[in-house]
């Protein structure tokens, strides 16, 4: 008789017990963000990265630990990154620029790197091709190629029709932060536009010497063009000094235009780069190999103008350029 009760009970148990799922454990993903510069502050890439990661269900303190390694001194920053990596458990390095990527590449060992962004990653030696990086790093580029710098210079000229002389400000790397292709492209473009060109290499924008400013004082129609390979993050001092000399300043990001009195920029949206970079971080944390993830280039450059700064330096921005501007700060 027992089987007559047992069989239905087994069937009932079988029908009820099908909805139990496997339990999950939360793993904390450890990501180091490398920054060559002062405090992180309100960096658009970082904001975009955080927003993107949050959207991809990464929450700091739960399944994500973001560790920032920064210093204005490049060797010190590299040493700090090396020390951080030695502690172990690092899943990924996010390099917030080209110099950061160079430093990370030197000490990363087997830890994958995502650059957000890097300038011309092929000529910088980071990847072998954009479609298939074939390296332990990938990410987004800032410039599509050297022609982008020429385009920036041309747009600078469109905003400042009175421009005659341009001081190009590059970072302090041995090659001046600007490889030969960029330099050649700038020269070519300047020639087409009838501009004089001079290059000044400094470790940081804050260290721009009196020579630069005196030069602009001596030569009317002088403007300062920051070559965004090093992504100088602090331009406020330079912008204030340039404003006193009524010299227009071309910056690297919309944030600089908005917050640091930089006249204008024509560049990719760094927030969007950071936001998109979260996708790379997610894929790599989930096991994808960096060498299989294609490097993305910016789809669009944003024209951003600070009309107040323009007024301070006595510049009348052509109305058609204001119309074409993506953002205008007053």
């Amino acid at each position: 008789m027992k089987f007559a009760v047992l069989l239905p009970c087994l069937l009932l148990a079988a029908s009820i017990g099908l909805a139990i799922g496997p339990s999950q454990t939360t793993r904390v993903n450890r990501v180091v963000v490398v920054l060559h510069g002062p405090a992180v502050g309100n960096l658009p890439q970082v904001n975009g990265l955080r927003a993107g990661l949050e959207e991809l269900r990464y929450n700091e303190g739960e399944n994500l630990a973001l560790k920032f390694v920064r210093d204005e001194n490049l060797p010190l920053m590299r040493d700090r990154l090396r020390a951080e990596l030695r502690r172990g458990d690092i899943d990924l390095i996010v390099a917030l620029g080209t110099v950061e990527t160079v430093a990370a590449k030197a000490v990363a060992g087997g830890v994958p790197i995502v650059f957000l962004p890097a300038t011309d990653p092929i000529h910088s030696g980071f990847v072998s091709s954009l479609a298939t990086p074939r390296a332990n790093m990938t990410g987004l580029t800032f410039f599509i190629d050297s022609e982008s710098v020429g385009k920036q210079l041309a747009v600078f000229r469109q905003i400042v029709p009175s421009l005659r002389h341009v001081i190009t400000l590059t970072d302090g790397r041995p090659d001046g932060g600007m490889n030969n292709q960029l330099r050649a492209r700038l020269k070519l473009t300047a020639g087409r536009l009838g501009l004089e060109l001079s290059e000044v290499a400094v470790a940081s924008a804050a260290a721009v010497g009196g020579e630069v400013l005196s030069h602009s004082k001596r030569t009317p129609g002088t403007g300062v063009f920051v070559v965004c390979t090093g992504l100088f993050r602090r331009l406020i001092d330079l912008a204030q000094a340039a404003a006193k000399l009524r010299a227009p300043l071309f910056g690297c990001s919309a944030a600089q235009v908005a917050e640091q009195k930089v006249l204008m920029t024509y560049a990719p949206d760094l927030y969007a780069i950071g936001y998109r970079g979260a996708w790379y971080v997610d894929r790599i944390l989930k096991g994808a190999a960096p060498q299989t993830l294609a490097v993305e280039t910016p789809r669009k450059f944003d024209l951003v103008i600070n009309r107040k700064t323009a007024q301070e330096i006595g510049l009348k921005v052509p109305p058609e350029m204001l119309m074409l501007a993506d953002r205008v700060f007053d």
């Binding site: 007559a4 079988a14 954009l130 492209r185 074409l324």
Partner: protein, 638 residues
């Protein structure tokens, strides 16, 4: 085991199982059949519905993409409708219109205004600083030649830097409708379509992608596949989508593998103007999620229903069989004699009727059994009383015999002495006739004395007063001694006596006088019944039980009929056989002898062949070293 016995063996649960399977088959079978049919039809109906929904999703995706391309085309055409063109043609003033086009159409990265000869008069780029003096010739290009006809041109997809998908588009520039003065040629960055494709959601994990005729994926939720120039022309759904077909294609759905190898439900639609296929895929698990959920629910309910049906079947089977079990147990109890037990079954059906019949039968049996017991008890009581009376009578008889014998023996002894004196002439000489009469008196007196002596012996034995005094003696010697004493009797009748050769030890452990009496009785009987000139043989041998000796006495008398063999040991029994010589005696010798043997633990028996003779056997304990006096010293023989 016998079939009859086997059929009565208990078979616990057989009937329950039988009923359970019948009910379970009927109820559960019906449920399962209907459930499976329901699942079958629901599966195919839902599958078709899901496929139709998926196909509609592909159709909607195509519509969105076509709309986006048409939007770009519209923006380009708007740029050609500028008043500047009407006033000054493709002069420098038109450059601003081109810049505006780049502003309003982010997907366009470069735009060039070609004059009627196909030469680029103006060229604006989003990323490049172009040489304003450069006049590129596009007169041989398909874009220029096709657009000159007033038709919008959609070029083939190409990959800039081998990673970014681009496409050329061209629209005619008309000073006024029908007057084409040039061509507006644009390079469209197709990654912008990614945003449209990315936003096409089919369920939770469903996605869309676009494949060109050459098999290149140019838009996919995973932009990485585009940038890596993933080929998809090996996929079945892509082959089907790009298969030459009528202009208006009906969206179709199929179960295939995705680019990642996952099983997906695919549907596709074709964009004829662009020669692109839009494929919509959804992981099969998700596509059929509602279907699976529905099947799961149905299956769960079916299982639950089946389980309940089985429980109900078990319950019903128990309900049906329970009264039968009660009936069976009741009948077993009644069968074992518990006639007061009554079956308590109130099913209101034939089983209850049967139980009532059993109860009536048990009541009748109990009454009959009670009467029988009373009668048996009554008869037993009567027998006990009769037995007591018999014992008393027997005791009285023995006392009577003892008293009578004793009282008779004394005068007989006196008579015998007196007769002997008279025969011996102490009372004077007797003549021949007197002597003959006295001799007759003496013989009668002696016979009467033996009779009384036997009666006394029997009386002593039956009253338990006989005492056995065992002693060690030679049985050979005893036999020889008795034979020697009785030899004159045999000689007188012309009967020869022979003692058989004994090869073993013949030392007995018994009451020598009692055994002498037994042996004497048997020999006298043998002489008595043997005809003149007959023979008599005595033998002795170890009995089958090694602790006994067996003595045999054989004669050549008339033998004993088989029907009389047992009776000859009864008291006062004599064989009454026609032609058989009537002998002296009252029939006590064998009875006494048998009792005396049995008092020693031995047995007496007879083997006889009528007309040839008889052999009487008896056993008596043999002496063994260390054997003590184990025989009872006093007792009766039953």
């Amino acid at each position: 085991m016998l079939p009859g016995i086997n059929s009565r063996m208990p078979r616990q649960g057989r009937l329950v199982r039988k009923y359970f399977f019948i009910f379970a088959t009927l109820i559960g079978g019906g449920m399962i059949t209907s459930g499976l049919l329901e699942i079958y039809f629901r599966f195919y109906e839902n599958q078709e519905q899901i496929a139709a929904t998926q196909a509609e999703a592909a159709k909607a995706a195509v519509s969105k993409i076509a709309q986006y391309i048409l939007e770009i085309e519209g923006q380009m055409k708007t740029a050609t409708l500028s008043r500047v063109v009407a006033i000054s043609g493709l002069g420098p003033e038109y450059r601003f219109e081109l810049s505006k086009l780049l502003y309003v159409a982010p997907a366009i990265t470069e735009v060039a205004a070609l004059d009627g000869q196909g030469t680029a008069q103006l060229h604006v780029s989003r990323f490049r600083a172009l040489d304003p003096t450069e006049k590129t010739d596009y007169s041989k290009s398909a874009a220029f030649l096709q657009t000159q006809q007033g038709v919008t041109f959609f070029g083939r997809v190409y990959f800039l830097r081998d990673t970014e998908p681009y496409m050329s588009m061209a629209v005619p520039i008309e000073r006024f409708p029908g007057s084409v003065i040039g061509v507006l040629l644009a390079e469209v960055h197709l990654r912008y379509i990614w945003e449209i494709v990315r936003d096409i959601r089919v369920g939770k994990a469903g996605y869309a992608y676009i494949v060109t005729r050459s098999g290149d994926v140019i838009a996919h939720r995973d932009i990485d596949l585009v940038l890596k120039r993933q080929k998809a022309d090996h996929l079945e759904q892509v082959k089907a989508a790009l298969r030459p077909a009528p202009v208006i294609q009906k969206p179709e759905s199929m179960v295939t593998s995705s680019l990642s190898g996952e099983k997906v439900l695919s549907s596709y639609a074709f964009l004829p103007g662009l020669d692109w296929a839009v494929v919509v895929e959804q992981p099969l698990g998700e596509a059929y999620e509602t279907l699976y959920a529905s099947l799961f629910r149905t299956s769960t309910l079916l299982l639950l229903g089946f389980g309940m049906a089985l429980l109900a079947a078990a319950y019903v089977a128990r309900r049906v069989v329970q009264p039968l079990h009660t009936l069976q147990r009741g009948v077993e109890r009644i069968g074992k004699g518990d006639l007061d037990f009554r079956l308590q079954i109130a099913t209101g059906d034939e089983i209850q009727t049967l139980a009532e019949e059993f109860n009536q039968m048990a009541a009748a049996l109990r009454d009959a059994y009670a009467n029988l017991e009373d009668k048996v008890r009554e008869r037993t009581q009567e027998l006990v009383i009769a037995n007591e009376r018999l014992k008393e009578v027997d005791k009285l008889k023995s006392q009577f015999l003892s008293n009578v014998s004793h009282e008779l023996k004394t005068p007989l002894t006196a008579i015998g002495s007196l007769v002997d004196n008279m025969i011996d002439g102490l009372t004077g000489p007797l003549n021949g006739k007197q002597t003959r009469y006295m001799t007759g008196v003496k013989e009668s007196t002696e016979r009467l004395a033996r009779l009384i002596s036997d009666l006394l012996d029997l009386s002593v034995i039956e009253t338990g007063k006989t005492e056995v005094r065992p002693a060690r003696f030679s049985l050979d010697g005893l036999i020889g001694e008795v034979v020697e004493n009785l030899k004159p009797l045999a000689v007188e009748k012309g009967i020869s006596m022979e003692i058989g050769q004994n090869n073993g030890d013949a030392t007995a452990w018994a009451d020598r006088d009692k055994i002498t009496q037994v042996l004497t009785n048997l020999i006298i009987n043998a002489v008595k019944f043997s005809p003149a000139g007959g023979s008599l043989r005595l033998g002795m041998a170890p009995a089958s039980d090694a602790s006994f000796l067996e003595v045999s006495v054989s004669d050549t008398g008339p033998g004993i009929p088989p029907t009389e063999v047992e009776r000859i040991f009864h008291e006062f029994y004599q064989i009454n056989q026609p032609g058989r010589e009537k002998t002296a005696g009252v029939g006590l010798g064998l009875a006494i002898s048998k009792k005396l043997v049995e008092m020693h633990g031995g047995k007496m028996r007879v083997e006889s062949v009528p007309g040839q003779g008889s052999t009487f056997f008896f056993t008596l304990p043999s002496w063994r070293p260390g054997a003590g006096p184990s025989l009872s010293t006093r007792g009766t023989v039953q």
